[in-house]
Symmetry: C2
Subunit: 147 residues, 2 copies
């Protein structure tokens, strides 16, 4: 079972969420929250549709997972997201004390590492999972936008 | 007119929102968004009630103001908040490109300045407005909690 539920397995589901955002003309970022190998939240970026800068995939996923758990701390949960979180989302993850964050592509301009943000010291971070696919989707989106 | 609508005037309204949070057992932070001297959003921290770490006063105020304006960028808007924004809220304010942020009390532990977060370079920042009252409300809350 453990070899089936790999980080790549779950990132592929986050990537399918990102593709849904892409199809709606949203910057293609997708996220899921997993607890005990069960997906308890799925979301994708909806900032354009909702006219709301806070509607990043991660913020929605954190709120949704907390609602599912009826608890504000996401203990024993992992967030999979296709792009490195920005400072806003890193801050939300910090407050959630989430156990693990896995992201695909790095964001050297607006990612929390570049800005100087922080995740919670207890949070394990893994990155570069399906990086090429996550990056390719973003590149395709911005190339199409420039056309 | 301009002498009536001072930063202190609006911060006092944010402070009344913070007191509403206090009365609900929430960490007492209140926020309002003002455009052309008109209040277009009012909110207070609801993280306990909603079991949601993203339910800070600022995040709710940003979403609410954007909903009112039907636009994701808060141009010509000012956010008044009783406490220095955390990195999550600073990130949301960054994305909103809000024109001005006014805060009361500083937060030397979890404020965006201590964490290393950033507001948008175009955003004007004013702080220390009704600082003593904003700080006193926070102190009273945590002193009561320890009892």
């Amino acid at each position: 079972m453990d070899t089936f539920f790999t980080d790549e397995y779950f990132m592929r589901i986050a990537l399918s969420e990102a593709k849904e955002a892409y199809d709606k003309g949203e910057i293609p970022v997708g996220a899921i929250v997993v607890a005990n190998n069960q997906i308890i939240a799925k979301s994708h970026n909806l900032t354009e549709l909702l006219h709301d800068v806070t509607a990043h995939a991660e913020i929605q996923a954190i709120s949704s997972a907390a609602n599912y758990l009826n608890a504000k701390y996401l203990k024993n949960c992992t967030l999979f997201v296709t792009l490195e979180p920005c400072q806003m989302c890193a801050g939300a993850l910090y407050w959630s004390q989430i156990t693990k964050v896995v992201y695909g592509a790095s964001d050297d301009k607006r990612g929390y590492k570049a800005i100087g943000g922080q995740l919670h010291p207890k949070t394990e971070v893994v990155y570069g999972v399906l990086e090429q696919e996550c990056t390719a989707l973003m590149k395709s989106f911005f190339e199409n936008k420039r056309k």
